[in-house]
């Protein structure tokens, strides 16, 4: 009797874990297949709406602590940076820049106000944009994303492209009333169809992770390329991005006699490591 009670008790944790694992796998499968995308994105929106005010309030209070801890982690590189900054500071003093940091911010915002490359492309100049500030960096170690301070309140929605002064930054993957999450073009899950050269060739640019070069696929071996050549979004039918948005600059290319495609790497034109202000293009795929 006691043995059977003990055996039942020892089986219970196993039953619990089996049920929990099955529940998790079911949720993952439904999300992966897209069957529950609407429900899950609705739940995420509600969670973000509820959580964001608390996160922002606490973030304002603990930001100095976070900065201190972040500084402690980067102590070595900060010392080097300090030396460089001291030299830079002396140079700046000599030049007596009156405007200082505010001029830089103003310049960035002015660039966003009239994106130089967008004005030259009729199809882009008609797309409305919303200026946004980056308020948080990636919340997962396995995704390269940023959070912006604009959301559905201002018309921002899932799928909209995000650009900075120099080019494409990424795409909105989640949006709630006062914010959104943007998957950067360097994220391993990001793929952008691009156009290059004249007559135009088409390729696919995949992200390879934070700080790594972008991988350019489907360029035939022996294709005439040049270092520094600009890749722009292709805008082919059903594309995720509007056409002609500058994305990256080719940094290297090579091929071997047996290779089936040119091995090409590129670097994003936008400075993704120092993103502060960006524009969300109010453009949805398929429009």
């Amino acid at each position: 009797m006691a043995r059977s009670r003990r055996s039942r008790r020892s089986r219970r944790p196993r039953l619990t874990i089996v049920l929990l694992v099955l529940a998790s796998i079911t949720i993952i499968t439904l999300d992966y297949r897209g069957d529950l995308r609407g429900t899950i994105s609705g739940l995420r929106r509600v969670a973000h709406d509820a959580f964001s005010p608390v996160q922002n309030a606490v973030g304002d209070v603990v930001h100095p602590i976070g900065s201190f801890l972040a500084g402690a982690v980067h102590a070595g590189s900060i010392e080097q940076q300090n030396a460089k900054l001291r030299a830079e500071n002396a140079r700046l003093r000599r030049q007596s820049l009156a405007a200082g940091a505010q001029a830089g911010t103003l310049h960035t915002l002015q660039q966003l106000e009239s994106l130089p490359w967008a004005a030259a492309v009729p199809s882009l100049s008609s797309i409305r944009t919303v200026a946004a500030e980056v308020v948080a960096l990636n919340s997962s170690d396995f995704a390269d994303t940023v959070q912006l301070d604009v959301g559905r309140n201002l018309g921002v929605d899932v799928g909209m492209p995000v650009v900075a002064g120099n080019g494409l930054v990424g795409r909105v993957i989640d949006a709630w009333s006062s914010g959104c999450t943007v998957r950067l073009v360097t994220d391993p899950g990001s793929s952008v169809g691009v156009r290059y050269g004249q007559p135009p060739g088409y390729a696919l640019v995949d992200g390879s992770g934070v700080g790594r070069a972008l991988a350019v696929h489907y360029i035939a071996p022996g294709t005439a390329l040049t270092k520094g050549e600009i890749l722009t979004t292709s805008g082919l039918q059903d594309a995720l991005f509007p056409p002609d948005v500058p994305l990256a600059r080719i940094t290297s290319y090579s091929s071997t006699p047996s290779s089936t495609e040119e091995s090409v790497t590129a670097e994003p034109l936008a400075d993704l490591a120092a993103l502060q202000y960006v524009d969300v293009m109010l453009w949805e795929p398929g429009t």
């Binding site: 929990l20 982690v73 980067h74 960096l137 396995f142």
Partner: protein, 176 residues
């Protein structure tokens, strides 16, 4: 678990998520930051045992998934497995030892990150193992060791401790 325990656990999960997103996300090295969510799951397994731990780990992961841009349910799966593994591995051990607690929680967090990367790779994100895992481990391992005791203290406040197997087998006491 009583209603009070559930309320306390929910509060602790909320607190851990706030700390994660407001403070720990800012501590970044090569794109990686400390992970308090998996640490919380490991602590739940250590304190509550495999069954309670797995349940708390599952719901902690599910709550975290609501705020993450990755596949929904992945953290819940890893959370319950980590808690179950830590709970099972330490169920026969003396739980007053601080070094043991730090070791168990850190090992649980590391195992969770590896499991997470493997699952991400299975779901088609090849760079999860080759690119993201190493920096994640470099940052999360020492951070887990540092944060283990505070997180354990929080979890002890909310999750009822596991009944030792011997006491469960002899509800009337070992002396009878």
């Amino acid at each position: 678990m009583s209603t009070v325990d559930v309320a306390r656990t929910s509060l602790v999960i909320f607190f851990v998520l706030v700390v994660q997103h407001s403070l720990l996300d800012a501590v970044r090295l090569s794109g990686a930051h400390p992970d308090a969510v998996l640490l919380m799951a490991a602590a739940a397994g250590y304190v509550g045992g495999p069954e309670r731990g797995a349940t708390v780990g599952f719901f902690t992961g599910l709550a975290a998934d609501l705020l993450l841009p990755t596949t929904f349910g992945l953290t819940a799966l890893v959370g319950c497995l980590v808690a179950y593994a830590v709970g099972t591995a330490t169920s026969g051990l003396v739980r007053d030892s601080r070094p043991l607690a730090v070791l168990a929680l850190t090992a649980g967090t590391v195992a969770g990150l590896v499991g997470y990367a493997v699952l991400e790779a299975v779901l088609g994100l090849a760079g999860a193992i080759s690119v993201d895992l190493a920096p994640a481990l470099v940052v999360a391992t020492p951070a887990a060791a540092i944060l283990a005791l505070p997180v354990l203290w929080l979890v002890r406040w909310s999750v009822p401790p596991m009944v030792p197997p011997a006491a469960a087998a002899h509800p009337g006491g070992l002396g009878r």
